[in-house]
């Protein structure tokens, strides 16, 4: 069976616009949440967000091109170039027919709302010619394929906040089954916009906290919603022999993926846990390991009442017998919720955790919740050797997605 390894990584996040910058912030337990500046919040309950700062794409995209590329695609291009250059593939000849892009987004582009407004006020002819190329959810993937000359499948997987994890999972399966040798996988989102802030707020998903350090507080008893973030994560997944033959550096191996649907509710997790347990179980089964061999879980941990309670119950039910002291953290405590991009960035963080033997903390954690009683690595990270780690993502629509990564050491 073909093995799949990670040979390149790139990210744009509220705590750093490269993987190195992000990881440095994680080591410093830095919080990237602050005042929401991307629109006037005077008539909005939500005053804070986790924004990407000092983002500059001019090294990769010409000014004329920028006019047809939405912010979510801009993030995607930046993180994908970083991953591609990091992999060393840019200086190699390889079969680009077997080079794929599986890159998603929860929401896609940002100008549908303003364009709709223009049409209603001025008529159909007022619409921008860029409306379609800017907004279609596949355009991040297509922009990446154009930039990197990837001629294999170009397929965005869209599963709300599980999009990034599912894109990596599908890319893993594609390579494992021989459909691709190299795949750029990940996801991006840029949803700090009125329609998404108002929409998520209307269903009580966002915190109204104005204190950046007590806003995204996963698993804390006082948690009351997530903080909207934005960003992108890109990984180069490569068939092991292909990577070995070109002497690529290998960060980690992907060994398991589980994906199920609750088929229960559009927005609530199913507290019956059945499909959540099955997603973790499928990933563990594919990895051919037992729950006791997993040392760290990067949780979905959004800081909403229901998600964190559900996920804690889920982890407890799978790990309670063999591994009751499993270390779990939510790095959303530092960068808010990147929606579809979250799983991609968290897969990168999980890979870094394995490489650096360091468990990232859940920062801002103060009040213990009796309904969430696991080891959440509160506030201070930990040195620990990791052989296997897991990354969870859960998405509106009932998506349960799980990746298992293995240290490159054996």
């Amino acid at each position: 069976m073909r093995k799949v390894v990670i040979t390149g990584m790139g990210s744009v996040t509220p705590i750093g616009n490269t993987v190195d910058a992000m990881w440095t912030s994680i080591l410093e337990a830095k919080c990237g949440i602050g005042k929401l500046t991307q629109f006037d919040t005077e008539n909005c309950d939500i005053k804070i967000a986790a924004e990407v700062k000092e983002f500059d794409l001019k090294n990769y995209v010409k000014p004329l091109e920028m006019k047809k590329i939405d912010r979510f695609s801009q993030f995607a291009i930046a993180s994908s170039y970083e991953a591609y250059i990091d992999s060393g593939l840019q200086s190699r000849e390889f079969n680009r027919d077997m080079f794929s892009v599986i890159f998603g987004s929860a929401a896609g582009g940002s100008t549908i709302g303003p364009e709709y407004h223009k049409i209603m006020e001025q008529g159909c002819n007022a619409v921008s010619k860029m409306t379609i190329p800017i907004n279609l959810v596949n355009m991040a993937a297509s922009n990446i394929a154009i930039k990197l000359k990837a001629f294999g499948t170009c397929t965005p997987v869209v599963t709300a906040c599980a999009s990034g994890t599912d894109c990596i999972g599908k890319a893993y399966r594609d390579i494992k089954n021989g459909y691709s040798n190299v795949t750029l996988a990940g996801a991006s989102d840029a949803c700090i916009q009125p329609v998404f802030i108002a929409g998520f707020n209307s269903i009580g998903a966002l915190t109204k906290s104005t204190d950046p350090l007590r806003a995204s507080i996963p698993f804390d008893k006082d948690r009351n919603g997530f903080v909207m973030g934005e960003g992108s994560g890109s990984l180069i997944l490569e068939e092991y022999e292909h990577a070995k033959n070109r002497k690529a550096k290998i960060y980690a191996e992907i060994v398991g993926y589980g994906s199920t649907c609750d088929a229960y509710s559009l927005t609530s997790p199913d507290f019956g846990l059945k499909q959540g347990i099955r997603a973790i179980g499928e990933a563990i089964k594919e990895a051919e390991i037992s729950p006791g061999e997993i040392s760290y879980i990067n949780a979905h941990g959004t800081s909403t009442k229901y998600n964190d309670k559900y996920e804690s119950m889920l982890i407890k039910s799978v790990f309670c017998n063999e591994n009751p002291k499993i270390a779990v953290s939510s790095t959303k405590s530092m960068m808010g919720h990147l929606l579809g991009a979250a799983g991609a960035v968290e897969a990168i963080i999980t890979t870094k955790a394995i490489n650096e033997n360091y468990l990232p903390p859940t920062i801002g954690y103060q009040q213990v919740d009796e309904e969430c009683n696991l080891d959440y690595i509160p506030n201070i990270g930990r040195k620990k050797k990791i052989r296997y780690a897991m990354s969870n993502s859960l998405g509106f629509g009932g998506h349960n997605s799980v990746l298992i990564l293995k240290s490159k050491g054996d």
């Binding site: 010409k62 004329l64 006019k67 010619k129 860029m130």
Partner: protein
């Protein structure tokens, strides 16, 4: 006119001004695709305060120069 248009094209495409000539192909040499072309027309319309007809056939930089000069008459 050519100098002014060349400066705009250089800014928008990140290509050195010296490399842009009257015979440069907008698509082949400047890398401007069909979507970019719409945006380039917007930039030129804003710069010269005029309206470029949608059916204009523009292949080279010289075609742009000629069109803008005609529209300014």
């Amino acid at each position: 006119m050519f100098e002014k248009i060349r400066k705009i094209l250089a800014n928008e495409t990140s290509i050195d001004e010296e490399e842009i000539t009257m015979t440069s192909s907008i698509h082949e040499d400047l890398g401007v695709d069909s979507m970019d072309m719409y945006n380039l027309m917007d930039v030129l319309e804003d710069s010269f305060q005029l309206k470029i007809p949608e059916d204009s056939k523009l292949v080279t930089v010289g075609d742009i120069v000629k069109l803008i000069e005609e529209l300014q008459k």
